[in-house]
Symmetry: D3
Subunit: 138 residues, 6 copies
Amino acid sequence: MENDRMKQGLDKLMEYTLSTNDDISTHLKISDDLEEIAPDVGKYIIEFAYGDIYSREGLTNQQRALITLSSLITQGTEPQLELHINTALTSGLTPKELVEAIMQLIPYTGFPRVLNALTLAKKVFNQRELEVKEAASN
Amino acid sequence: MENDRMKQGLDKLMEYTLSTNDDISTHLKISDDLEEIAPDVGKYIIEFAYGDIYSREGLTNQQRALITLSSLITQGTEPQLELHINTALTSGLTPKELVEAIMQLIPYTGFPRVLNALTLAKKVFNQRELEVKEAASN
Amino acid sequence: MENDRMKQGLDKLMEYTLSTNDDISTHLKISDDLEEIAPDVGKYIIEFAYGDIYSREGLTNQQRALITLSSLITQGTEPQLELHINTALTSGLTPKELVEAIMQLIPYTGFPRVLNALTLAKKVFNQRELEVKEAASN
Amino acid sequence: MENDRMKQGLDKLMEYTLSTNDDISTHLKISDDLEEIAPDVGKYIIEFAYGDIYSREGLTNQQRALITLSSLITQGTEPQLELHINTALTSGLTPKELVEAIMQLIPYTGFPRVLNALTLAKKVFNQRELEVKEAASN
Amino acid sequence: MENDRMKQGLDKLMEYTLSTNDDISTHLKISDDLEEIAPDVGKYIIEFAYGDIYSREGLTNQQRALITLSSLITQGTEPQLELHINTALTSGLTPKELVEAIMQLIPYTGFPRVLNALTLAKKVFNQRELEVKEAASN
Amino acid sequence: MENDRMKQGLDKLMEYTLSTNDDISTHLKISDDLEEIAPDVGKYIIEFAYGDIYSREGLTNQQRALITLSSLITQGTEPQLELHINTALTSGLTPKELVEAIMQLIPYTGFPRVLNALTLAKKVFNQRELEVKEAASN
């Protein structure tokens, strides 16, 4: 049954990861780092976070990506925020939706966390060669 | 033009507030409290938070409610969290979607914040006489 | 194999819980609350938190209790902090050790979080009829 | 020389405490709570916080009160925030200045922390029978 | 009336910004970053933060700078903290007052946040070629 | 008596610091930074943090190191976290115990803070040429 959780987690993780893009290599790099000193953490991320939680019914991948982003922006935890701007885009959210999601947090976290998130978003948009201008067209 | 922001903010706030329910009285109670010592804060909430930010295009009310909830759970800021569990329900999110949204945060905030949010969610579901059992059926 | 994680988690949870004391009822009360709206969260706490993490080798129960307490004090997440003051005592830490652990955080969190934790510790010591005076004898 | 730190701390603490008001009893109540399980924490608050830090030159009592309030609002650490709304008033800040100070944090913490602080401020103003209405007249 | 808020915000922002110093370019750089993906955020900072909030009566620019600094140090939000060490100096606070303000937070945030703030303060003092030694002379 | 606190603090600090390792130079570097603009902060760290708090009876150096690490991971305050991964190792905790301590926080802070701490731990293990592989062998 454990094998099922691992398989389910990997399948779900794939849905958030571009095979042609460097965010998969970011995921793998994190795995490499962990492999040496704490291999079980990577296992827990796949089995528990992606296999148990992300794989639940009731919310779309895009909804889960928005919830995750909002929490990471509120905490200010980089570089995980950068990683999940990537997974949010891969889940199908548009750059414009991401920018709006970040701006929605101004009344709840204040400007500093929002400015830091926008800086990271711009960096990711550039890496993925997204039309960033389009993101701003409200 | 200021009047426009106030009007737009009030209109938007209405979309998140049940007229037949006590969450509108909760909103009004907050206004009462503020009226005495800081009346402009209520004005800023309506004009800036609801008039400027919530009224922007690009995300649905339900998406904005999810983002807001996620930030408040992450911060642990009660009683605002209770208020926005109400606005999330009024925006059309189901009890089940709310519970799933809260659970999505386990890998990002740990269990304690999630448990506190679930306790509040249960309280609000009871107040609104929602079929809570149904919320759990995954 | 899932059944193993559940069993391992329950066994480990027992080691942190007094059968003759009301902290087990606190645990059960939390379970009751969750049962209605989010039954799987209780399952994740037992299988993942206690079954996977707490059951790992390499640290004693008392070390894990200290680490947990320190994080909860730093976050200020009540009522989970109260619960884990109980589990820390059941793991074998003395009241005096707990008070010292809380005081060790003054240079890292400042006084407010520490004062709140001491207030909760005193409440738990009283509930368990521990010789609180003894706790203070440095 | 230690005695000097204790004396200096007590003298400084007096400047922030009304003898005719219940905020001194709040201070004493905290001391009572601590006395039993962690008497040295009260000593550290007086010797280190008030004796070493608050007693330094270079800032007025009112400036130190503003800095302290801002940090406690940002952290959301009650009941210490309530205590320091009292010490801020005793240091000579007016209710209006306090309300403005709290509102200055909207762009940096968002509305939730600010609303919680205003609720506490109103409670303290009422306890001290301050003309709260006057506080709002911008 | 919107134009008034923009004008008032810009006027107020000028009071916190040295025209001969690179902190204005820092402000502009942030604007450049935002211009591409979220131009309205810059507008909100000027209209809401500086036009509505900073422009209120009842506190001096220096008091508002102290409150802002204290919140940013408590949150640990760089690089905004660096920016506001600059605006605090431009508002007329001396390097010595800034250092004292940072030290006042030791009892409320612990040493780590304070040490990080002091490192940034030293960097800014060097950039502005301020007599840092003088700042330390208590 | 003050001299006693300084001496006691320095003695205690030595117990957490390798003379043959670069973490002592890290400690000294911090002192250098502070010396110029806030010399008393270094004094407070030694006299208050190490002289008063760390020197108390009732917990071992290793217990205090675990408590400190847990708080810094929860706060995400780098570079102090890196420094205290070093002091934890010097106090006698093994790399494996450190990794386990970090992993114990997954249920209480979520994965992002834990991943950042593991990245720093790996960096420190490499600097101290510790057998990192061994750390992972659960």
